[in-house]
Amino acid sequence: MKKKKSFWQRLSQITFNDVMAWTAIPILMIIVIILVYNRLLLTIEPGSMEANIIGSYEIGFDNVTKAVIEHLQLILISTGLAIAVAVPAGILITREGFRDFSGLILGVANVGQSVPSIAILAVFMGILGLGFKTAVFALWLYALLPIVRNTATGIEEVDTNVIEAATGMGMTNRQILTRIELPLAFKVMFAGMRTAAVINVGTAALGAFIGAGGLGNFIITGIPLMRDRMILVGAIFTAVMAILVDWILGKVEDQLVAPTARA
């Protein structure tokens, strides 16, 4: 058995680069958040129109917190549902008998992706009405393609020799899928999920147009009122969230992907 390194041994091996890789992005983001708080939020005059929408140092910034939570909900629910549907769909189109449909399914998903997100929101607003659910549906639709595509690609890219060896040694199709194909495809699959989640952070800002809430609210309310401060708060927080989601998922990926599949 390989000896597990003790905590202190591992601690002593941490280099400057390791520390930077782990802390650079979070520290930068904390600095940005502090700057936004000091230079933008704290300068809002109590009782002004902006204070009604964003808040002020007198009444606090509950509205900002609420918008952040709404935004996260939009992303988590839509991406989660997209994974639940797209991963099985991606697996299905690599199976014998369904392979012929892979072009069709990827084509449909591709078309969905190429329609501008704002147009999707508008179309489904007409069908499903205003609100949170419609936005989740549109974001879900939008997240499907990268996940389906990467799931299918990841599985297709597994070395045929490996599959042949597995078949020849007597693995069932299910065993080949769960023990060989999915673990080896995971890196590519996860990259699709990460892409989908990060894209959704930005797209979710548009949800405010149909009353889904989120950080987009500050932007689209700020534009007609010509309140730069409001627009900046919404825009910067959306960007910070996108960067953090990407960073966190990147770290998760490092932990989950098998040591050999990394390279």
């Binding site: 058995m1 070395d159 020799n161 599959i163 060896a165 040694m169 007597g170 080896l184 040591p259 599949a261």
Partner: protein, 381 residues
């Protein structure tokens, strides 16, 4: 035993067969190499055995460890595949699994417990002369030759009576291939598996096969026989062309040094005194002689011109021998080894480096002449 009975495979959408009415039997404990040009259906024929490909017509029988013969078409393909060792060209080791997990693939599928699987994997690594710490490594941490050995070991994990090998040594350099071939032949003498071994290389087919099955394009069996018989009596022009004009030389592959070496060579003891040694060498008319110790282990050699007129013990004048050939090596490998070091005489040693005989180029030449006489004297070396 692996038995093909009028087996034909025609792929859907094609009219000409890939394997055409193939019948032959591999006796238990023998290696049968299937060889032929590309498009001869040799891999197809092999995959019919574990039903990676289903035959269009005919039957294939494989005997299990109890010696009972079963028609593979009556078996569940999954059960069948788990009962036959399978080793492919690109090895197909699972890159995300450790060597232990790779070797434990079939044991795991058969529900062996962890201790038994690990024990078996350790035995196999020992058998392959590989260190046990490999168990926790990943395939990419091993060299090509080591991966190839693990691939072979994985195929033997459950000690299946029959194994299918599709160019198992195809993807490595010639030097390592020769080493692996020799290792495997030594191993086969102990494990005595019934093996179907696919290769495109006629030299490998001759070297590895107790029986050789030569296929022509379209899966037509041209000849099925022992290597010696095929070299001596090619059935037709195709076989003759395929085995090549140098078939007398190829017979060197079939003869092992044990069969032609001088088992009572004149040797000197390291502890002999020099005058005595010179006398002995003059008497035997030797220019040089190999020197052994009390345990018959090879020490090196001395030349008569170096010790003539000297005093002392032989061991003081010993020069190390550049090479020694192991028992069981075939004449072709022996000859090439001798050419590399430019020796006309080489010691044949056993696993403990004890001298068991001496071989020289004259003995090899004689073996070639004899075999070409046996082949009808058509080719002179």
């Amino acid at each position: 035993m692996i038995k093909f009975e009028n087996v034909t495979k025609i792929y859907p959408g094609t009219t000409s067969p890939a394997v055409d009415n193939l019948s032959f039997t591999v006796p238990t404990g023998e290696i049968c190499t299937i060889v032929g040009p590309s498009g001869c259906g040799k891999t197809t024929a092999m995959k019919l055995v574990n039903r990676l490909i289903e035959p269009t017509e005919g039957n294939i029988y494989v005997s299990d460890e109890r010696g009972e013969t079963q028609n593979v078409l009556d078996m569940d393909p999954i059960v069948l595949r788990r009962s036959i060792g399978y080793i492919i060209q690109q090895i197909g080791l699972f890159p995300h699994r450790t060597i232990l997990q790779n070797m434990g693939t079939v044991p795991d599928l058969l529900g062996w417990d962890e201790t038994r699987t690990r024990g078996r994997a350790e035995d196999l690594l020992n058998m392959m002369n590989m260190p046990l710490e490999f168990l926790e490594r990943y395939p990419h941490e091993l060299s090509g030759g080591q991966r190839q050995r693990i691939g072979v070991a994985r195929g033997m994990a459950t000690d299946p009576p029959a194994m299918l090998m599709d160019e198992p040594f195809g993807a490595i350099d010639p030097i390592n291939r020769t080493i692996l071939q020799n290792e495997f032949l030594r191993l086969q003498q102990e494990i005595k598996k019934t093996i179907l071994f696919v290769t495109h290389d006629i030299d490998e087919a001759i070297k590895m096969g107790d029986k050789i099955c030569i296929l022509n394009v379209g899966g037509i069996l041209e000849q099925f026989d022992s290597a010696a018989n095929i070299l001596a009596h090619p059935a037709n022009e195709f076989v003759e062309d395929f085995i090549g004009a140098d078939r007398a030389l190829k017979r060197l592959n079939l003869v092992r040094v044990d069969e032609v070496m001088n088992t009572r060579p004149p040797l000197l003891q390291a502890t002999q005194n020099v005058e005595q040694a010179v006398g002995f060498m003059r008497e035997q008319n030797l220019k040089f002689a190999y020197v052994i110790d009390a345990d018959r282990q090879l020490q090196g050699y001395v030349r008569i011109r170096d010790i003539k007129g000297q005093t002392g013990w032989v061991e003081e004048f010993v020069e190390p021998a550049a090479t020694a050939i192991h028992l069981g090596t075939n004449l072709k490998d022996s000859l090439s080894e001798m050419l590399v070091v430019d020796y006309a005489n080489v010691c044949v040693v056993d696993a403990r480096n004890r001298v068991r005989g001496v071989i020289n180029t004259e003995m090899i030449h004689k073996a070639v002449m004899e075999s070409s006489d046996a082949a009808g004297g058509e080719e002179e070396e």
